[in-house]
């Protein structure tokens, strides 16, 4: 069934991302960075992505904050004559802000992938490769599961616990990769025989630019950049 997808104008999305990242890079005031991140969290909450984002952010940046603190507050000051104005909190906050902006810029809803990527200028083979890559992980997970099942049926292990899966990892990788390459050949042959690669792509969904959202985003990012530059 065809859908009408409203999206932010791609060039405005790019400019807003650059302004956002530029603002983060030029400011060193942690209060501004905290305020900026809170704003990004509001957007994530509206998009109902806040929980996953927070888990990912804490997992990735939590260790960085701790290690920056240990390095710059305990290890390096031992050195004679060491001086540094690097703040672990500000550095981490800056990284979190940049990553969240990149995430918000690139993240697309799964059912909107083809039309939105196409509207970003991806065509033909490039669009095909990106689309296929996005779904390939699910394909490989299914394949790895089949290999595990086959090994279990042969009596190599008795349960599918986390530890068992880790122990079985080296035995999974080789058949997984070999199977992947073989299926790549099979797919390639099938496409070639059916002339699928030469057929034009058709999209049922249509995209329209939400100019209100786009203008608002541009305005907010411009104001953010100006605020960062002036403080």
């Amino acid at each position: 069934m065809a859908n009408d997808i409203t999206m932010i104008e791609p060039r405005i999305r790019l400019v807003a991302a650059l302004l956002g990242i530029g603002g983060v890079v030029i400011t060193s005031d942690p209060r501004i960075l905290v305020a900026g991140y809170c704003f990004l969290l509001v957007i994530l909450a509206i998009r109902r992505e806040i929980k996953g984002h927070l888990v990912m952010t804490l997992t990735a940046f939590g260790p960085i904050l701790v290690m920056l603190y240990v390095l710059y507050k305990y290890i390096l000051p031992v050195r004679v004559g060491f001086e540094s104005d690097i703040s672990p909190f500000t550095t981490t906050l800056r990284l979190v802000n940049i990553s969240t902006i990149v995430y918000l810029t690139l993240k697309i809803k799964p059912d909107e992938f083809p039309v939105v990527l196409r509207s970003w200028g991806l065509r033909g083979d490039a669009l095909f490769v990106v689309m296929s890559s996005l779904i390939s992980v699910a394909d490989l997970t299914k394949r790895a599961d089949r290999i595990l099942t086959a090994r279990m049926a042969r009596g190599y292990f008795e349960n599918r616990s986390f530890v068992t899966k880790i122990v079985q990892l080296p035995f999974i990788i080789r058949p997984l990769v070999a199977g992947t390459l073989l299926s790549a050949i099979e797919r390639s042959d099938s496409w070639h025989q059916k002339f699928l690669l030469d057929k034009p792509m058709y999209f049922l969904d249509t995209v329209k630019v939400g100019w209100w959202y786009s203008s608002l985003l541009l305005l907010v990012s411009f104001l953010w950049f100006l605020t960062c530059a002036s403080i």
């Binding site: 990912m56 952010t57 990735a60 940046f61 939590g62 260790p63 960085i64 290690m67 920056l68 240990v70 390095l71 710059y72 290890i75 390096l76 031992v78 050195r79 690097i86 550095t91 990284l95 990553s99 969240t100 990149v102 995430y103 690139l106 993240k107 083979d125 095909f128 490769v129 990106v130 296929s132 890559s133 996005l134 779904i135 390939s136 992980v137 394909d139 490989l140 997970t141 790895a144 880790i166 990892l169 990788i173 080789r174 997984l176 990769v177 070999a178 992947t180 390459l181 073989l182 299926s183 790549a184 050949i185 797919r187 390639s188 042959d189 496409w191 070639h192 690669l197 030469d198």
Partner: protein, 195 residues
């Protein structure tokens, strides 16, 4: 481009990208002192050339940074460098069993460390949240600059990881039937045919 070759490229790149993401995800979840996130890049480079390998590496890291590890995207350049280096070594006949693959792995580790170091220093102030940070801290406390410390720590750790990945890729390639290998573009210089 030859339609068969094009079809093979279009079928292999997404699957190799998925492979990079999947193996990298497992290792990232286990917090192992290794990365093992370039097996797909190395395989694709050996089989289809450096451009395909670089596409696999960069695309894989872009997707990883959206779904799993937001830091991955900053190291996309390293993946491109890996593809170029592996392609070069394969052309020179250094993707073969024995000491040659070790030389390739160690060289690849040094290349990866050198390319990653400016990103780690410039963006992360020397810290990436892995165990390597403690080595960086130790080296920095002995009077070395952060860049020198990151570089030396990388050169100490990366060759092990990259040699492991090269060995894994070689092991997989050698286990493939010759008929499968011959379908890929780089098969003239692949380890099976020239070794």
């Amino acid at each position: 481009m030859d339609p068969k070759k094009r079809g093979l490229l279009l079928a292999t790149i997404p699957l190799a990208t998925g492979l990079n993401i999947a193996i990298g995800a497992v290792v990232y979840a286990l917090k192992l002192p290794l990365y093992v996130d370039a097996v797909g890049t190395i395989l694709t480079t050996v089989l289809l050339g450096w451009v395909a390998g670089a596409v696999v590496g960069v695309l894989g890291f872009a997707i990883t940074s959206l779904t799993l590890n937001p830091l991955a995207i900053y190291f996309s350049g390293t993946q491109a460098a890996i593809a170029i280096f592996v392609w070069f070594m394969n052309k020179k006949g250094f993707f073969k069993p024995g000491y040659k693959i070790i030389v390739t792995g160690v060289g690849l580790g040094i290349v990866a460390a050198v390319v990653s170091a400016p990103v780690i220093v410039g963006l992360f102030q020397g810290v990436t949240g892995t165990g390597a940070t403690f080595i960086v801290g130790y080296l920095a406390s002995t009077g070395k600059t952060i860049l020198q410390s990151v570089l030396l720590a990388g050169i100490g750790i990366e060759p092990v990881d990259k040699t492991l990945q090269c060995l894994l890729a070689l092991w997989i390639i050698r286990s493939l039937p010759k008929g499968v290998l011959s379908r890929f573009n780089g098969s003239e210089s692949s380890p099976e045919s020239n070794g």
